[in-house]
Symmetry: C2
Subunit: 96 residues, 2 copies
């Protein structure tokens, strides 16, 4: 099954950790804070528990820290509408 | 059908315009740069053409300007995994 992972993480280093983690699990970036991957149920559990671990810890005042994972079919992914420029670079490419 | 709209727009005023537009079309914010709405096909076309119009125009060097719209079933939306704090405030609540 395909999963779309979108995240809103205001802390720069945490956000970079999340994007590197998702890449390490074979997901592919489709937007600055969005990744897609074809995962088995156990791979999904692995991603979910890994993210939960990374995101643990006390939040600072006003900090935003949220990840959402949506199941999609291949057909729904193909049906997606893209408006504007697809920029598959990410922070790890830009910041490095 | 439910649609998840995710956007990566680096220009502050353009990003605010997009979020206000999506709200005006009845979509609900689920993350800082993500909205969800139950739309008919013609409502979807209306959202797509409105976003295309808003996003038109020359981009500055290094600017990011991308919107993606994913179809989802109600069940898939219910199955979504949320990790971390759900913060349904948005820029228009914070900046105002």
């Amino acid at each position: 099954m395909i999963y779309l992972v979108i995240y809103d993480i205001s802390d720069d280093s945490l956000r970079l950790k999340v994007s590197k983690f998702l890449k390490s699990k074979g997901l592919r970036r489709v937007q600055w804070s969005a990744f897609v991957g074809d995962l088995t149920t156990s791979q999904l559990r692995d991603v979910e528990s890994g993210l939960t671990l990374i995101m643990k810890g006390k939040m600072k005042e006003g900090e935003r820290r949220n990840v959402q994972i949506y199941p999609l079919t291949e057909r729904q992914f193909q049906q997606r509408i893209v408006i504007g420029v697809l920029d598959e670079r990410g922070e790890e490419n830009v910041l490095m």
